[in-house]
């Protein structure tokens, strides 16, 4: 393990509710969602001198169009941060948000910054295609057989994982059902309340009767994805989408969503200066590659690597936010690594809660921080996910 100059701490984290694609945030721009969480996370540290934020690092998986033009800088400006606060957008698809937190922490660890923000934003409502506004493949992908996996749709890679790791349709559906059950229970118990910063949507709509523009306001306060009426029978009826003889359905895949999350990090010096109590210490981050055609298995490489880096054993980790891109890959990862199902996504995962690609990492860090605040017995927590074109990422946090 490399020598650290100093530790980085998470002092605040928050997120928007996660809306379904074309749901509550259908008319909300991703840069506005980002500005909202930037304001909300900084508001959690009263007296914070915004000009002291050394950089705003924002993950986004499809950084173009409404979320293009370096959305990090635009979000920071829209949030009312001083002009002196810079911003950078980074992209590693589904781990972008987690990467932003890790990169922000690294800058503090290196002694280059005292206050940093790592965040993520994504609107899949405005980015209709999984490949952005313009799909433009490199012909080289198809001219060599070993590259063809780059062209595989994510669903197809999940089919490959299901096949390779023998994950049955029944198991996938049961897993999906449990994700909804846990998410609904968590919502009912108010467990997400502290981490969510409700969003006031203002929509300008044509009122054809009065011939005027009507401004409609409504609060989005809760995740929209979880379904209390999810049933095994209903899930079993869905048709496989990605393969003729497949097992991956819309029901056992993550939902397409809109959302943003932000995490405020500080050095020990800054904590002392502001007199804040940190929630957790950032322990480390790892990322690793796997074949693109089985991208979902990525955490199988990333998690052990992270444990080796940090010297923490798997059994010491009390809470794992494992992104459920697909039930097939989540189950394959859990079985391969022997993860304890009770500790994985105790409040549900992306199948129920949704998966706004580049925002998910930051959003799930916010969930983990909230869990650490609620449960004094929880020491180590992890956020991990698979990544398109074949990677896995994992980040580790320790309650302080």
């Amino acid at each position: 393990m490399s020598r650290q100059i100093q530790d980085a701490y998470i002092v605040a984290a928050t997120r928007t509710p996660v809306a379904k694609r074309k749901g509550g945030f259908r008319n909300v721009r991703p840069d506005d969602l980002l500005a909202h969480v930037l304001r909300a996370v900084t508001a959690k540290v009263p007296g914070l001198e915004l000009g002291e934020i050394a950089d705003v690092i924002v993950g986004c998986a499809m950084p173009e169009a409404e979320q293009g033009m370096n959305v990090a800088r635009i979000g920071a400006l829209l949030a009312g941060f001083p002009d002196t606060v810079p911003g950078i957008t980074i992209n590693r698809f589904c781990s972008s948000g987690l990467n932003a937190v890790a990169d922000a922490a690294a800058r503090i660890q290196l002694g280059e910054a005292d206050v940093m923000i790592g965040a993520g934003t994504e609107s899949m409502s405005v980015m209709p295609q999984m490949m952005g506004n313009k799909v433009a493949m490199n012909p080289a992908v198809f001219s060599q057989a070993e590259n063809v996996g780059i062209a595989f749709g994510m669903g197809l890679t999940a089919e490959r994982v299901a096949q390779k790791y023998g994950v049955s349709r029944q198991d996938q559906d049961a897993f999906a059902m449990e994700s909804h059950r846990r998410a609904c229970a968590a919502i009912a118990a108010g467990l997400f309340r502290d981490e969510i910063s409700p969003y006031l949507v203002r929509e300008h709509l044509p009122d054809l009767q009065s011939n005027a523009v009507r401004v409609v306001e409504r609060w989005i306060e809760q995740d929209e994805g979880p379904r209390a009426d999810s049933s095994l029978e209903g899930l079993a009826k869905l048709k496989p989408v990605f393969a003729a003889q497949g097992s991956v359905t819309a029901g056992n895949s993550s939902q397409m969503s809109d959302g943003a999350g932000a995490v405020l990090l500080m050095s020990e010096a800054a904590i002392k200066r502001y007199g804040v109590t940190p929630i957790a210490r950032y322990c480390g981050f790892s990322v690793a590659g796997v074949p693109p055609e089985v991208m979902g298995i990525g955490p199988v490489e990333a998690i052990p690597k992270l444990l080796r880096q940090t010297g923490v054993s798997q059994s010491d980790i009390g809470w794992i936010e494992l992104n459920e891109a697909f039930a097939a890959q989540a189950l394959a990862v859990m079985r391969t690594l022997g993860l304890d199902a009770a500790k994985v996504n105790p409040q549900g995962g992306a199948i129920a809660l949704g998966h706004p690609l580049g925002a998910t990492g930051a959003i799930r860090v916010a969930t983990l921080m909230s869990a650490m605040q609620h449960d004094p017995g929880l020491r180590y927590g992890m956020v991990s996910m698979c990544i398109g074109t074949g990677m896995g990422a994992a980040g580790l946090f320790e309650r302080v």
Partner: protein, 794 residues
């Protein structure tokens, strides 16, 4: 002359018929308001809205494109009754209960504009009785318009006046129904079940009567009363299932209740099994069980005695098939009558009793024999009406045979044949068709709307002027009807089977365009009967393929391309007049014509991948070019925005389910014309050619340079293919064929944005086409299609 314009229609009653009539209005660009009762719970428009939802789901679709449903406004009588004043035509289509209808008439009458038409879609209630329930002021504008189910697809509409309906109004309505909605109108006197159902239901009763008398099974009867005798494939009992057994029972009851003095009245009762099925809700297709029931993959048939379902699978006896194969109708009937085979006797009996019935009733139920025969074709899908069959079989011989059977007590009724039967040699003549009231031959209607039908559907015995031939070869005929427009715009028709396109047709098109350029103002490609063309003539290609003569094959493709370019750059407008299928090469003719004029029921598609090939008669070229031109008008200049959809259309061999959908799919251009009545196709096509000629027509000049999507575009489309192949949705050969489509659409393996010529695009698609012909899989697909008539998945 003043124009008769219907801007908006109100449909009262959002049931199956009401909603589908509204849908057909939407297909015809006629806006409508669909009324029903206010829903008890929730949205007061709930009933009408639910009807609109189910329109989207019905198959075959009542809507030409699903988004047309937006032209139907849901409404309810409580909140929106005042909006009736917006409507020029009000069609009532509520349940067949006299009291309910009269109640409604009282309610809506005050809101109907004094110049609006009020019509009922009743299928059997007396129009005059309903008229009496209308306020006196409304009666001159009241009549029956009886659509057949499903209204988009069934051509017939019966127009039934009440005493006092204004004659002018009926003429105007007939014009609207014919041209605007594209229907075939027959005027019917006000009788129970009017005309088509009167004869059609009698025919079913006759079949039921003889089925029971001879102890035949339903599936046995269906095996011999379908296509074998020129009726729909669903024959008798399966048709009843499709129509709905409750509807059937209702139509029979109308006869029972209202025709007590009909000499056949004793037979006007529904059989016990029909009552039993209706009572238990087995109403046919809509409830999943009726006379037939699908059990897993098997279809079982009802045993009328036990009401249990049992195995079905009757086929027509060989002996009967042999008789019916006879081309000579007179001989066919002589053999039927002479045969001892019970099925032959059955068929003679059902024909005889229908002949007997229509002869007896003609004076009451139809203006003339032509109306009756056409009503049976358009309303029941018979290839010929009963009088036509009788006449073809020998009028006098059959008349004598019926007479013998009446005397011998074999017919269903002992009523004598009317005397006129013995006075004529047939009911259809050059002078017109028999009108039993006046004992004269009545000519066709001279309403102006019928001048738009240059070749109306003729009945047997009616002489049609086939025009004069200008030039012809073995597979095409260039000709002109003997009328004014014919002097300026000749017609080109194909003689090949299903209007398939082989080298001789290609030569013919090229020659015809040349002649039109020299001597005429334009040219119309039109076929006297659908289809427009099923595409390349595979039969003619087969020997060249089997000889391995790839140079010969390439020459055929090159000629196809030459034909397309000849059409596109013809110096006079060339109009493709399309009705029915225009597939593959047929679609490419449509794409390259100056304009297409298409009947609504045009089924257009580039289906080459089904036989392992790609469109190479300029089809791919044209889309590469059109996408480049469309992209050039946008900020991003990216042809892929257009190519992705068209690629999927071609790669999946999608065929449009209407002309309007073909436009949505990009197979028709914005400037192509969609009309509702196929009988008006030639008229509109020639007028379009003349209009273009009058606008000093010049073909577009060949584009100087076309920027193509190139390698990048191919790779992007290939990504889709990789996922489908790896997901087991397409075969390796599908992949290869579709990649060839992608390559042709993207202009070949060149850099994105590379500028090419039209000839380059043609060369690319031709080379890819010939490459595919060299593969065993494509060869197998072609041969399979020829031998089995269906695509082979390999």
């Amino acid at each position: 002359m003043s124009n008769f314009i219907i801007r908006k229609v109100a449909i009262l009653g959002a049931g199956v018929m009401g909603a589908q009539i509204a849908a057909h209005c939407a297909n015809a660009d006629v806006a409508s308001i669909l009324f029903d009762l206010p829903a008890k719970d929730g949205d007061p428009n709930g009933i009408a809205k639910r009807a609109l939802d189910s329109l989207r789901k019905l198959e075959p679709s009542p809507l030409a494109t699903t988004d047309r449903v937006q032209y139907i406004e849901p409404a309810n009588y409580e909140q929106h009754i005042g909006r009736l004043s917006e409507c020029d035509l009000i069609i009532e289509a509520i349940a067949e209960k006299m009291e309910w209808k009269l109640d409604l008439y009282r309610k809506v009458a005050p809101y109907i504009r004094p110049d609006a038409i009020f019509a009922t879609n009743t299928s059997g209630l007396s129009i005059n009785s309903l008229a009496e329930g209308c306020p006196a002021s409304l009666r001159p504008r009241f009549c029956g318009v009886h659509f057949f189910n499903p209204p988009r697809y069934m051509s017939l509409v019966e127009l039934i006046p009440c005493h006092g309906t204004q004659a002018k109004l009926l003429d105007e309505l007939e014009e609207f129904l014919t041209t605007t909605l594209g229907k075939s109108v027959v005027r019917a006197p006000d009788n129970p079940n009017f005309l088509a159902n009167r004869v059609g239901v009698f025919s079913i009763l006759a079949v039921m009567h003889h089925t029971e008398r001879m102890g035949l099974r339903f599936d046995e009867v269906d095996a011999i009363t379908g296509t074998l005798i020129g009726r729909p494939k669903s024959a008798t009992y399966r048709t009843a299932d499709v129509v709905g057994l409750d509807t059937m029972a209702h139509a029979i009851k109308t006869m029972t209740d209202n025709l007590p003095h009909d000499p056949w009245a004793q037979h006007f009762s529904a059989p016990a099994w029909l009552h039993a099925l209706v009572a238990k809700g087995a109403l046919g297709q809509k409830t999943g069980a009726g006379l037939y029931r699908k059990e897993g993959k098997q279809i079982k048939v009802l045993d009328p005695h036990t009401l249990e379902y049992r195995d079905n699978g009757a086929v027509a006896p060989d002996e009967l098939v042999e008789i019916l194969k006879n081309k000579d109708v007179a001989k066919r009937f002589a053999l039927l009558r002479a045969s001892d085979h019970p099925h032959a006797q059955f068929l003679w009996a059902i024909f005889r009793d229908v002949f007997h019935y229509v002869a007896y009733q003609l004076v009451h139920i139809a203006r003339n024999a032509r109306d009756l025969d056409l009503a049976m074709r358009w309303g029941f899908g018979w290839q010929q009406g009963p009088f036509e069959i009788w006449q073809a079989a020998g009028w006098k011989t059959i008349a004598a045979a019926i007479q013998d059977d009446i005397v011998a007590g074999r017919s269903m009724s002992s009523a004598p044949l009317p005397p006129w039967v013995f006075d004529v040699d047939g009911v259809h003549t050059d002078q017109g068709s028999f009108d039993a009231r006046n004992g004269t031959m009545q000519a066709r209607s001279v309403l102006p709307v019928y001048q738009r039908q240059i070749f109306p559907e003729p009945v047997l015995g009616e002489k049609i002027d086939a025009g004069h031939t200008i030039w012809e070869n073995e597979e095409v005929r260039m000709w002109s009807p003997n009328d004014d427009d014919g002097k300026h715009v000749p017609v080109l028709s194909f003689k090949s089977k299903m209007c398939a396109v082989g080298p001789v047709v290609l030569d013919g098109i090229i020659e015809a365009v040349k002649r039109a350029e020299h001597e005429y103002k334009g040219l119309v490609i039109w076929q006297p009967a659908a289809p427009f063309s099923v595409g390349a003539n595979l039969k003619q290609i087969r020997p060249v393929l089997e000889a391995g003569d790839f140079a010969g094959l390439e020459a055929i493709v090159a000629k196809f391309q030459q034909m397309s370019q000849t059409l596109k750059y013809a110096q006079v407008p060339v109009i493709a007049a399309v009705n029915g299928m225009a597939l593959g090469g047929g679609c490419e003719i449509v794409m390259h014509a100056t304009r297409a004029v298409c009947a609504l029921e045009s089924y257009i598609g580039l289906v080459e991948v089904g036989v392992g090939l790609i469109p190479a008669g300029g089809g791919c070229k044209e889309f590469a070019l059109r996408s480049a031109q469309a992209a050039a008008r946008t900020a991003t200049n990216d042809p892929m925005n257009w190519l992705q959809n068209i690629f999927q259309t071609i790669a999946m061999a999608n065929v449009s389910k209407s002309a309007r959908q073909a436009r949505e799919m990009g197979l028709l251009r914005e400037q192509d014309i969609v009309i509702m009545n196929p009988a008006e196709l030639l008229y509109v096509a020639r007028k379009t050619a003349l209009g273009l000629a009058a606008s000093s027509y010049r073909p577009a000049l060949p584009p100087a340079g076309i920027a193509v999507a190139g390698r990048g575009g191919i790779a992007t489309l290939e990504m889709m293919l990789v996922n489908m192949r790896e997901g087991g949705m397409i075969s390796a050969h599908d992949y290869r064929v579709s990649k060839a489509v992608a390559t042709a659409l993207c202009g070949g393996e060149v850099e994105s944005g590379a500028v090419v010529s039209e000839q380059w695009l043609l060369d690319v698609e031709r080379a890819l086409f010939v490459d595919l012909l060299r593969t065993e899989e494509t060869k197998a697909r072609l041969i399979h299609m020829l031998e089995v008539g269906k695509p082979l998945r390999n």
